[in-house]
């Protein structure tokens, strides 16, 4: 089960393919699937932004900026998780909201 190419980020990225195609086929997702999509998006966004920070803020060159931006990213990602959970429970979820806004 330990393959070097099978990383978490690749599994999450691959899972996003059916999760993003499904709303286009079905109109929008039920709350469970919508929450799974939100979770995958949060993890995928964190991975992406982390890669940007690693690329543009080398630790040897700008150590403080590197650690500060990584912590800011972590806090913002947790906050996003809370925000999407709140949006899912108190509102209609992101796929339904996107559909309604698109046809407004």
């Amino acid at each position: 089960m330990t393959e070097s190419w099978l990383t978490t980020s690749r599994i999450v990225g691959a899972s996003l393919v059916p999760l993003t195609v499904a709303p286009f086929a079905a109109g929008s997702l039920n709350p469970v699937m919508d929450s799974i999509l939100c979770a995958a998006l949060v993890i995928h966004s964190y991975t992406g932004f982390q890669a940007c920070i690693i690329d543009y803020f080398p630790a040897k060159r700008v150590p403080f900026l590197r650690t500060a931006s990584m912590w800011l990213l972590r806090i913002a990602t947790v906050t996003l998780g809370i925000a999407l959970y709140s949006f899912e429970t108190n509102d209609v979820g992101i796929t339904e909201a996107a559909k309604r806004l698109w046809h407004a």
Partner: protein
Amino acid sequence: MASQRVFQLGLRRAGVPSLSKFQPAGRMAQRRFAATQHVEQSEGQEILRKQRLQRPVSPHLSIYQPQITWYASAFNRVTGVMLSGGLYLFGMAYLAAPAFGWHLETPSMVAAVASWPLIAKIAAKATVAFPFFFHSINGIRHLSWDLGLGMTNKTVARTGWAAVGASVALGLYYTFLG
């Protein structure tokens, strides 16, 4: 002869009493000593760091031939940052809305967007649709490379342009018709 004069000038600069009585006046008669001071390693590194900030950078992105390989890679990152950045901003705004008196619930947002002029709706849809489709299709391209598929130069160029074409087509469809 010339070498003797150079030697005497060198001695004069070093402050050593000259071996000959001939001492020409003028700018060569002045004696200067180079002064050095001890600097801590960290302070020396700080001087070096400040110097490096002012040095010019060799051109890189501006001189490399535009190719679908690195243009698509850059576009993948830019579109990803745009899409996720927008999601993060919406999340923060949604949590902060009660404190600032904003209304970001779905009914309010839908009512606000419904009142926009057509050109604003089209602009907003295009801004979301094109990056979304390009990032998604290019993501599939990345996943296929992770499986070891399509890693020749020719295939990379073809799939890259196919991704651009598909995202333009889907973006146009969903902006104007979807």
